[in-house]
Symmetry: C2
Subunit: 331 residues, 2 copies
């Protein structure tokens, strides 16, 4: 079935995902520091999804999709293509359901990421980026074994799972006494951004989701400005690898176009600075792609409106050497 | 009044502190990772107090003590001696109450710590470690201005504040389905350890608090073994500076002697390894002194009993250069 023929994601879909994730996903804290407020010139509230299981929000979508499958399909297992956070999220979700997961990863993926995904119980199948197609390998395996493909963002139950972070933000921001704010979200294919936007539409009308991207990989920002999907020239070569995709998704883009404010773009050095600030002031570990929203909140205050801003720190799976560099430059 | 004449800390005192801290202190998460369980050979649950306001549990005690003062005393302000976490905890608590705080710090304290304490609104008064007595300076100031001294651990309302972390542990560990476990606590003067021990006595009889200290600064471990207060030979020269004290407190020691299991001792390199594991697997920043309990849980499994262990990560205020070293050695 084409992805566009899937039922749309609604408040009910997200609420149902939240019910399935209750007690499974972590309700991550909304962190604050007077030092961040001073840098930004307004209140800054940081949704620390780097503290989610497997170190990123991707566990929400993976668990949501797996738990939404019909029992007969689920027990046969799932398959995903990913060299990063989606792989680990799906692998742990499958392990928690006691079903097999196959993750198709490029053979040149970092050894640690392959090892981690295996350690979470998944079968890792590597392919040669240059000569092989991961889609062909995946389809062949899915057919042979009856596996269900879990797409990283153009999948309604994945979007619904990511949207549960938005439900939490709506509640936590209200508890903090904030009624109006931009909610800045690191954006790759748009699963997290569109899921949060839908949750805020339903539960917090004073909050507006806005995607944030690194310079040179601002496909969603440009797509929103042009009102149609446009693509990146490059899809590699960024330290923000976790959020680099060719273009916003076919399901996620119309949601973002309807609900989101304009995109924001930050430099790689902004990301490293934001990582150092998060280290010093919040005591959390954020990866470069997960730090774009915090970077925008802190270092591009003129691009944001209102007395408060929410930044999602979407993941923390960063190589120690790169983290050391961030501290060396900006710590 | 001598500290020993103060009313004892009870379940009621801790419960009252929890009421005053509700909505002020952060209910820090209890974090887990299958990778930690694998290292330790049992379930590991990490109470992430590094995510507390000001980056350590000390905010709890500072806020508890300030909020327990009679209004007339509180408005005159408070004073504390500290070059570290207690200073920042008291400073922020005073700011939240809108009252003055004076912090007496050695003039050779790291510039960043002095700047942070000032940025939190406190008046910092420096003294020369070699030639001046901080007690004399403090007493003179307290007398002149009518300030109330907030001791770092031998103060019942501070112990009660730290004990609120124990109430949270009792609830969170039960939610995680764990009934029996050692609760390992980084121990300096014993305020956090004794507060948690009292909370567990009241709310989680299957949990037992145990102090953890760095090699060479194991005054509490030896005091518990000997049944009387003994002192450290040195009180400086450890990367675990946040938990180095001359001896356990006169109020805290009898509580620990009655309620705690034997102390544990770890090396400085164990701490750096635990910091790297916390970075990689939990995405939190832990300082060396805050990492001693996690180090014991991970690397001294034979010294712990049961199928699960709780480790308190008590603070995250670590110098970036030292954190880089931990990642370089063990990341």
């Amino acid at each position: 079935m084409d992805v566009m023929d899937r039922p749309p994601v609604t408040e009910e879909t997200i609420g149902a995902a939240a019910g399935r994730l209750d007690g499974r996903a972590r309700r991550t804290p909304l962190l604050t520091s007077p030092f961040l407020d001073e840098i930004a010139g307004r209140r800054v509230l940081v949704k620390a999804e780097c503290l989610q299981h497997t170190g990123s929000f991707k566990f929400r979508g993976g668990y949501s999709a797996l738990s939404a499958l019909p029992e007969a399909a689920r027990v046969r297992g799932v398959i995903a293509y990913s060299s990063g956070n989606h792989a680990q999220g799906v692998a742990l979700a499958a392990r928690m359901h006691g079903v097999p997961a196959v993750i198709v990863m490029p053979s040149d993926a970092p050894a640690l990421k392959i090892a981690n995904t295996r350690a979470l119980g998944a079968e890792v199948i590597t392919y040669d980026r240059a000569g092989e197609s991961r889609e062909e390998i995946g389809e062949a395996l899915a057919g042979e074994r009856g596996l269900t493909l879990i797409r990283p963002y153009d999948e309604p139950q994945v979007i619904a799972g990511q949207g549960t972070a938005g439900l939490e933000i709506a509640a936590q921001v209200a508890e903090a006494g904030v009624g109006q704010a931009d909610v800045l979200v690191p954006c790759g294919g748009g699963g997290l951004t569109s899921g949060i936007a839908l949750a805020l539409e339903a539960r917090a009308t004073g909050l507006r989701a806005r995607p944030v991207e690194p310079e040179g990989f601002d496909d969603t920002t440009r797509s929103l400005a042009e009102g149609r999907i446009v693509t990146n020239d490059r899809t590699s070569g960024s330290i923000c690898d976790a959020i680099v995709t060719p273009a916003p998704g076919r399901i996620t883009f119309p949601i973002m176009a309807r609900l989101c404010g304009p995109g924001l773009v930050v430099s790689e050095d902004d990301c490293l600075r934001a990582m150092a600030v998060a280290f010093l002031r919040l005591k959390i570990v954020v990866e470069p792609g997960g730090a774009v929203a915090l970077a925008a909140a802190l270092f591009h205050p003129d691009a944001v409106q209102g007395d408060a801003v929410v930044a999602v720190a979407s993941g923390g799976n960063v190589d120690p050497a790169l983290f050391r560099e961030a501290l060396e430059r900006h710590g």
